[in-house]
């Protein structure tokens, strides 16, 4: 337990009659890269919202480095060091790319260091050319990069990425995968993704969710061979 950066204990949330996340016990080690997959409605994004405090669980606990953060405010959780790239990029449309990085880095750094970080991240995500353009006018793929860069600029200890490769071309997907591996050298990550090519590029351990619960947790190879996982994805429900 001492090596875990994140742990959920019997985490559940219920919307009326639907239990969107059902008794999830999930543990992530320091510097681990975990892929989270599952069909639509499996509860992946809801789990992310619980982890970041955007939703309050109806039962269960969330521990970040052993500290209980269940029910804490979103900004307080972010301050502890959890950053998230949301499924639909959540950005400041009227502001420039540079301002995004600045705002994210400035919370924890003095002004001068912030400028250096912003420039460094711009280079890393390859957006130096559009640094002073309004984010509202960028394509979906570029917006994904801006959000990823914004999260990185805050240097959170745990990074949650919700479909980081969605809307990207093949080359961009490869570059994102490379970046994710690079981030993983220093940070723990959980990545939700539908693009199995992308998952194969980055995955070591994969958690599969189905109907709000964790179905199976294993290496990528084992997951691909797993009959139950295949049934879930193809919509077959065994037993009949």
């Amino acid at each position: 337990m001492s090596g875990a950066i994140l742990q959920t204990v019997e985490l559940s949330i219920r919307f009326g009659g639907v239990e969107a996340v059902r008794r999830v016990n999930f543990t992530l080690a320091e510097r681990e890269l975990r892929c989270l997959i599952g069909p639509n409605g499996a509860g992946k994004s809801t789990l992310f919202k619980l982890l970041t405090g955007q939703l309050k669980p109806t039962a269960g606990r969330i521990l970040f480095r052993g500290q209980d953060i269940t029910g804490h405010h979103t900004h307080a959780i972010a301050r502890r060091g959890i950053g998230i790239k949301t499924q639909v990029p959540s950005l400041f449309d009227g502001l420039t790319v540079h301002e995004h990085l600045w705002l994210s880095a400035r919370r924890t750094h003095p002004a001068e260091r912030t400028r250096a970080i912003a420039d460094e991240i711009l280079e890393r995500i390859g957006l130096t050319a559009v640094a002073n353009g309004a984010v509202g006018q960028l394509s979906h793929g570029l917006r994904q990069w801006v959000e990823l860069g914004t999260v990185l600029a805050g240097n959170p200890e745990l990074i949650l990425l919700d479909e980081p490769a969605a809307g990207m071309t093949h080359d961009e997907v490869a570059r994102t995968a490379e970046l994710v591996r690079e981030i993983n050298r220093t940070h723990a990550l959980i990545v939700v993704e539908h693009d199995m090519q992308f998952v194969k590029m980055i995955a070591r351990t994969v958690t599969v969710m189905h109907q709000g619960a964790v179905l199976v947790e294993d290496t990528m190879d084992q997951i691909l061979k797993n009959a139950t996982v295949r049934d879930v994805y193809l919509g077959k429900h065994g037993g009949s």
Binding site: H75, T86, S90
Partner: protein, 326 residues
Amino acid sequence: MSGRRWRSGSVLTTVAMVLIGLGVPQVVDQFGLLQLTVFAAMCILALSLGFVWGYGGILCFGQSAFFGLGAYTYAVTAVNLGESTLATLLALVVPAVFAALLGYFMFYGRLSDVYLGVITLSVTLIFFNLMNSTAGDAYRVGKARLNGFNGMPSLPTLNVPGDPGRLLDPTETFYLVMACLVLVYVGLHVLLASHFGRVVVAIRENEARCELLGYDVRLHKLLVFTIGGGIAGLAGCLFANWGAFVSPNVFSLTMTSQIIIWVIVGGLGTLLGPIIGCLIMQYLATTLGTQQLANTSLVFGVIFLAFVLLVPRGIVPSLRRLALRA
């Protein structure tokens, strides 16, 4: 970079305001000077809402509550003390503290925009009714009779700090009000360029993202609202001092809707806009009022509708767009 261009624009505006402030008393007669003094005081009020609404994204329909509170605080304190220094200070502090209290319940209670509008409007109307019903000897604060709907006449006007016998003459008052306007304008620009100000604008753009980056949205909004309340209070103090008079009308629906119209006409999301909007509408109101050609409220309503439908961005942002295109 558009950011730098606007910064040089604001410097230009500041210089223009200083020049107008210094030059006007040389060329304008006493009546005109008094007129411009109240215009400038109202510009400060317009700036307060321009900041709270245009940058903070806080839909405050009752900015007049803080304006009126500032005016009455000045009146009551000045009558009691016979000296204006502390009265002026309190006219800033009391509305700011009140805004902080009100804001605490609204922002920490996570009220949505529509409710913010409803609550702030209700608050100013409650003040309006409350002050209207304070007629009679029973309603007094120390030496100051509140006088209900008749208002409080012959207030002590501003004096040189520490010297109650030395009152400011109209020209000095004009200088002072213009100085306050320039100070508020520059101060808000400096604030908006700071870390705090940039977060405030980011919150207007996307609250959820700010929270996810670790910024406490409630606290930032509360501070914006409080600063806006203090500035409106200062405007109220200057207004009460201008006519040496204050009545419950400072809290009225007409008053509060006027401020909104100034900001809409001039342009939301700028600081110059509310000033321009305020000047145009005040000039119109004065002209219409003296000529009795048409009902002022009716004309204001028509202008408001026309702007919302035809120039929703307001004058200043529309002109900027034109200038950028040219």
